[in-house]
Symmetry: C2
Subunit: 611 residues, 2 copies
Amino acid sequence: MGLTKIEKIIPGARWLRGYSTEFFFADLIAGITVGLTVLPQSLAYATLAGLDPQFGLYSAFVGGAVYALVGGCREVTIGPTALLALMTSQHTNLGGISGPNFAVLLCFLSGIVEFFMALLKLGSLVDLISLPVTIGFTSATALIIGASQLKGLLGLKGGSGSSNFLPTVKFVITRIHELRVSDTLLGVGSIFILLALRKLKDFKTPPSATKKRKILGAILWLTSTARNALLVLISSAVAYYAYENGQVPFILTGKVKSGLPTFSLPPFETTIMTSNGTMTDLNFTDMVSELGTSILLVPIIAVLGNVAISKAFGTVGINATWELIALSLSNIIGSFFSSIPVTGSFSRSAVNHASGVKTPIGGIYTGILVILALSILTPYFQYIPRAALSAVIISAVIFMIEYEVIKPLWRCSRRELFTVALTLILSLLIGVEIGLLSGVILDIAFVMHRTARPILSFEQCQSLSGIEYTMLKPRHSLLCFPAAEYIRNAINVTIAQFEKSPSFIVIDFRNIQELDYTAAKGLGGLKKELAERDIILILLGCNDKVKLILKTSLKSQNCYQVEDENHLDIMLQDQKINSKGELKDVIAPLLIMPSNDEDISIAQKESLRRE
Amino acid sequence: MGLTKIEKIIPGARWLRGYSTEFFFADLIAGITVGLTVLPQSLAYATLAGLDPQFGLYSAFVGGAVYALVGGCREVTIGPTALLALMTSQHTNLGGISGPNFAVLLCFLSGIVEFFMALLKLGSLVDLISLPVTIGFTSATALIIGASQLKGLLGLKGGSGSSNFLPTVKFVITRIHELRVSDTLLGVGSIFILLALRKLKDFKTPPSATKKRKILGAILWLTSTARNALLVLISSAVAYYAYENGQVPFILTGKVKSGLPTFSLPPFETTIMTSNGTMTDLNFTDMVSELGTSILLVPIIAVLGNVAISKAFGTVGINATWELIALSLSNIIGSFFSSIPVTGSFSRSAVNHASGVKTPIGGIYTGILVILALSILTPYFQYIPRAALSAVIISAVIFMIEYEVIKPLWRCSRRELFTVALTLILSLLIGVEIGLLSGVILDIAFVMHRTARPILSFEQCQSLSGIEYTMLKPRHSLLCFPAAEYIRNAINVTIAQFEKSPSFIVIDFRNIQELDYTAAKGLGGLKKELAERDIILILLGCNDKVKLILKTSLKSQNCYQVEDENHLDIMLQDQKINSKGELKDVIAPLLIMPSNDEDISIAQKESLRRE
């Protein structure tokens, strides 16, 4: 379908085309349902990021509106996520007013980096992150987030607020005797309730059910979907009444700042507390150097998150560049409203999908709900028990640990299982950035290894007229620099094993798509080397690209190239006559099986010709 | 041939097997000829490294003996080279006694690193350095070395002794008016003489020539080969007589320390001059941190040099690990005799080859000559004009600039020409390490790009019984993580272009050797996605490895796999009946041409089956 002029400038305008009452109500219901999920989640994620709860809400209303204007996948909901909150938390513990400043600046800079990624079409960089690396990385993140919430769950006080796994676990273990029973009961109980309510969704209502049964089904589904909101609501109500009666059974969230965030430039300077307790001013350069690799890593993880969502919902025809721009604008504009870094949330997108959203306009309704909450509900947010928020986070991230991948990978690809393990362990022990990077490098090393050490198979063959030759089949389509020396060695080693040196070595180029200068020169050297031992090197079925590079890089000392089996036969016969000086009778074409029984005869393959 | 017990412990012992008088004289002549080359070269390279000339000689006698004991290629001669001297020179300008200390420690540490490379079989890391990167790197090095010698050639005084290209060229240009005419005449004249003498070798004596003509040929060849020694000898003689007559027309080398180096541990501490002129002690850690990446880069370049030589002389059956150990021991033992880093010298190995060397024992004779020179000739070395040594270096490195590669690469592979240019330019502007590393990263990026963006071709085909399907042929043998998303998109985009959605998509797996977990999961997702649009995904001709990974990673939702064209046909017919509910007559096999005229029909390819 063609786009109108206005739709080309504002892609989101197309959603209004045929926007019926039916669409409006569907989007409204989905928007409110997502809102019931995002309210407790954003409070919790802000705490996870080491900030006051209101910053989560500040981050939850811009993305939806921006995405409705620019985005292309109706399910995507943009806002704070556990992963980005964890990454942000590394920069929010420097004291003073610096926490929110670093978080908001990181949001702004992530948006800028995403914009340049869109401009330079670098979004495909996330292709370098394989599934095993993603699994190792997200599982490690889930463990780190889970560990970081144990403190809140058990009502422990103090600790560094560090986002490192080992120190956090150590802190909880050494202080386990200080746990508060009421918080622990609430926290652990909440997790069980949340997991049970999550299961409710699995009760499917058959299409043939009675109306009553259908209404029951809808109520069950809504209870399951809004479970976080329900839990927070009920536990807060209990805490509120206890508080009114002069009791504080749980550690509470504390005062949440009311009202909308002020619209202002992201902070380009801040003040931190140094180790000796004095305050120091940091300018923009200092802040950037403190944020360090996060400026690149947060956008990459954000893009990865968005790609995973569009992959999961299988929406076709999404423009990757516009998606990146949507993400970029959500972060840039968000940072003017004190947002922390945002991206597509997998869990909320799933809720959105299940709620029957029709267009991304649903995100606008969610945003309005968040703004209403900021204006009206904030006085009540202070009564939310911390243990309940910790339970919300833990029961969300618990499903990010993908242990079920271990068995199939053990059976079919232990190399990739090792990649999972390396990424996971380094993420836990050193940091998520190092873990992710190591996984990617390991994957690249594998591809390079395959390119450098292609599987080679040698066969003893006879041509159509019965002349013997040795055929090398490289099992890789790209013959390039790291393999050049290896192939030369392999041929020499193979020849050395023969009792009598073969007269012809044929390299099967029919599956080889590309050759580089190094490999071409290597073949030239090999030809010379073999010629000294009266062995003729023949290349079978080179494509035009390969021919060109052989011709130009080897100049006068061109390799013998033959097109197909017939041509090869003629060539071998000519060479027999010329080099040995003996004239052989031309034998009729024969069907002769090569040494490897699994392969069918060369003659049968005769008709195969690649372009 | 089997090795005796002693030959297994000392591989070099095998050279003595059948070591005849003939071999002795051949090796002796070759050894002396190489000695006449190495004497002036090592004096010059020591100066290039920023050290006193005797350190070149110290580096030129251990390698030959070690290589004779351990090495496997008779042509290789190990000693100082221009490239390693240049890399060493980066660490010899810190003043005090630190120059030789850093050089010798670098030699020792390079040997240690090479030993671990041998142990861990990491020698193949040099496979990652492609020919274009090598060309860019060595050409840049030649330019840097050439520029660094301009000062000596023109008799200019002062300057920083920096090994950076631009500052050196700038220094020469701004001080060009200070050039000394006598030095310049000697230097430039020497270059012309050396280049002319080099050409002498090209006069081939026909085998049928008279005895006189043959003797003349031998003299011409010897003059050409020993040209550096002759030039140094004659120019020194001139300078000596001028000096005796109270004149100093040229800048001279200055006093060369006489006698053999003392056998001692490499220096693990040193003293440098700080910027304000005072002396500071450095311990081992400080020295290592000053040497930095050179500790890894010097060994890698050294190994690359050795590989290039054995490649050039096409010696078969060389054990790469033993070669590395030979290199390692040459450096480690050398460092006890105050050697600077050494490796195989390409130019001297060529001389060795041309002199008819029979075994690496020739290197021992060269070593004896160098030791004799150190004992007897050093008093005369001080009269060698610096301009003559500069001419020796310049006329050696001038042939390392491989401009002749530009034309063929421009014609057949501009990507690789870009690699040459990038490596060259970054090496000149920033440093040889950065240049080399950038070239390698660019090459790896290319391999990753090819893997991530395999060439895909879609064909509209008909099965043996005439059922239509769309066939995707990936032109890459490794289907893995970076390509998973790309292939999914390509199929969706292709389907979108059809007027009527096809019923079947067949992916041709017959050329695909390997699939990873990410790609397998991607296929599972694609299958689901297509199924929603009533399109059936079929994989044709998967090998066992691919089948295993598909089966284990996709579990219940297995993809349809067919073995060959017959199997495909049966499958398509079944699906026709099942999915559309219509029973079609089985049409007799037809020869139907696919849309692409260049391809032959599917039916003709029928018999092809890969293991």
